[in-house]
């Protein structure tokens, strides 16, 4: 069943269209930046972007910073929200279950394919960023004008360190997106509308974002799903600030465990009338 789901994911045009769209944003930004060479002032605009003009090695991370707040969660919500609800809507859910595919197995397969999508999307954006960074911006190896990469704290980072930290950032972002996926998958087990599940999960993210910015909600802040999303930027400080990253990993893990548990409990006991 897991293999079937992965094959489905790869065969579905939607997967590739959404990944292509995700990659389009960094391409547009890269072209604009490299032709105009007008970078955002330090401290403004997407994370790390101002540093890119002097060295493209940070562009993969900067690309992820661009898609992370909105586009990536939207794509993940759509895929995860559609996973069970979409099967219910087309009626194929009842045939899969009668085949028989166990309900737990089906849910695990859906989760796996969602995870695969998240990894594919994040890696695709990262790779796009890498290629763009090497070709359109001064790079450490080929270009003569490249300035050594400096961390957000001002010290110099070796290419090796940049690569390592970028990988860590990728992993952190995948993990953060799993929280979104868990929310959408959970909602997906309740409805026959993939759209409703996706929008539901996005509403929760928007709510979380609003509350993160609200001082009156400070007591809730450490538990909001989007609170530590941008903490991966701390991986580019010197030394790395682990505090928020660690909290983020734990918090997302909590969301994943609780919501997947709830999704499983609901799906196991639900009458499939679709």
């Amino acid at each position: 069943m897991i293999r079937v789901e992965l094959v489905q994911l790869v065969r579905r045009p939607r997967t590739w269209v959404s990944i292509a769209l995700l990659c389009a944003l960094p391409v547009i930004v890269a072209v604009l930046l490299s032709t105009t060479e007008i970078g955002p002032r330090p401290g403004e605009g997407p994370a790390l972007l101002s540093a890119v003009l002097s060295n493209g090695a940070l562009f993969p991370a900067a690309s992820l910073g661009m898609v992370l707040p909105l586009f990536l969660p939207v794509a993940v919500s759509v895929v995860a929200g559609d996973s069970v609800a979409g099967e219910a809507a087309t009626g194929t859910l009842r045939y899969l279950l009668a085949r028989p595919v166990g309900r737990t197995r089906l849910l695990v397969a859906k989760l796996t394919s969602t995870l695969a999508f998240v990894v594919m999307a994040v890696v695709a954006v990262g790779l796009t960023g890498y290629v763009l960074g090497r070709t359109l911006f001064p790079s450490g190896s080929g270009g003569s004008v490249a300035v050594p990469v400096s961390s957000l704290s001002g010290s110099t980072l070796s290419p090796r360190e940049v690569a390592l930290r970028t990988m860590l950032a990728l992993a952190y972002i995948v993990w953060s997106m799993l929280g979104v996926a868990a929310v959408a998958l959970f909602l997906s087990t309740f409805t026959e509308s993939g759209l409703a599940a996706a929008l539901g999960s996005l509403s929760l993210l928007v709510l979380s974002e609003v509350l993160v910015g609200l001082d009156a909600a400070s007591a809730l802040k450490p538990y909001l799903v989007t609170r530590y999303w941008l903490s991966w930027v701390d991986l580019f400080r010197d030394p790395i600030l682990w505090h928020d990253v660690r909290h983020g990993v734990l918090l997302q893990g909590g969301y994943v465990v609780v919501l997947l548990g709830a999704a499983w409990a609901n799906f196991m006991t639900r009458d499939i009338t679709a």
Binding site: R94, A98, P100
Partner: protein
């Protein structure tokens, strides 16, 4: 001798305040073609879904292929092919790809022999020449055929089919009937639900009628439609029959005459002797329609009228 393939004991299902199935005791013996007859909303689909472990019973027991459902659904359902309510498939894939995914998804779906299995199923339902067209371009009838192909691709010992002829034209309905009879002859038990009396009568060997979630009639079709002891005669000389066999004619309408108290053999001899031309003669059998009418009419159940009306209603105007 043969173990029943489906047994339900005091099966109840409620959806909130609605009782979908009430105290259903059903036994489907192996080897039969069982017609599960009832109007829309009588609990047929809910029962089918419970048999397949999709819907959980409020109370009562279900056994399919000797295994408890839903506890041992996996063991039970791997011997079952199903068509539930309407066929469904992934619209962006071809028939072949759809069947391959379904085959691979469940137990026993080895790659070895898959092509052959799928090819055979598609050939059986007459979809072998559609090629790589995606299913979303299919007509309703083609989708119905694909649904049947999906049900039989694993060569199940039991077919559970919910309204298998929905969306088919008369030719397709006949093909499906012949297919089911052929599969049944080869040893597959068929359990099909339908709201069409004529269809069940033409296809099935055994009938169960449900109304408002209750089983109101169950038995072998031949027993139910047993001879009435009367003789049915078709003749262009109906008037002369009446004078020749006065007192034994029960009904006369056009060229149709019903007689009682005389065997077919004696009647034929008398008619030949009397020079009466005969176009058709034989023992009168009750139609399933009459049986259902008599059963549901006998009770004081006010809703039985709606049952009969519903069953007799034209399929086209049936609400979805």
């Amino acid at each position: 001798m043969t173990e029943p393939v489906i047994v339900t004991r005091s099966l109840f299902k409620r959806f909130g305040p609605v009782r979908a199935v009430t105290d259903l005791d059903l036994v489907v013996p192996a080897g039969e073609r069982f017609g599960f007859l009832g109007p829309n909303g009588s609990g047929k689909t809910t029962t089918v879904r419970m048999l397949l472990g999709l819907v959980f019973a409020t109370s009562g027991e279900i056994e399919v292929m000797g295994e408890r459902v839903p506890r041992h659904s996996r063991a039970a359902l791997r011997q079952v092919g199903a068509l539930v309510e309407s066929p469904a498939a992934y619209g962006h894939l071809s028939a072949r790809a759809n069947l391959a995914l379904l085959d691979a998804a469940g137990p026993g779906g080895r790659r070895r022999g898959r092509r052959a299995r799928i090819g055979e199923a598609l050939l059986t339902v007459g979809l072998d020449t559609v090629g790589r067209r995606p299913v979303r371009t299919y007509s309703l009838g083609m989708r119905a055929r694909l649904g049947l192909a999906a049900a039989i691709v694993r060569k199940p010992r039991l077919l559970v089919l919910d309204e298998p002829t929905n969306g088919l034209d008369p030719m397709g309905i006949r093909e499906v009937r012949e297919l089911l009879i052929r599969l049944n002859d080869a040893g597959t038990t068929v359990f099909m639900s339908s709201h069409l009396l004529a269809e069940v009568e033409a296809t099935c060997t055994r009938v169960g009628v449900v109304d408002r979630g209750r089983l109101v009639l169950e038995g072998a079709l031949d027993d139910l439609r047993g001879p009435t002891g009367r003789v049915l005669l078709h003749t262009p000389d109906a008037g002369r029959v009446a004078s020749l066999l006065d007192g034994q004619v029960v009904e006369r309408e056009g060229d149709r005459v019903v007689l009682r108290g005389i065997s077919v053999a004696d009647l034929t001899a008398r008619l030949v002797a009397g020079g009466v031309r005969v176009s058709e003669v034989g023992p009168e059998r009750r139609t399933l329609e009459e049986v259902v009418l008599s059963v549901t009419g006998a009770g004081a159940d006010r809703h039985s009228a709606t049952l009969v009306e519903e069953i007799l209603r034209d399929p086209e105007e049936r609400p979805r």
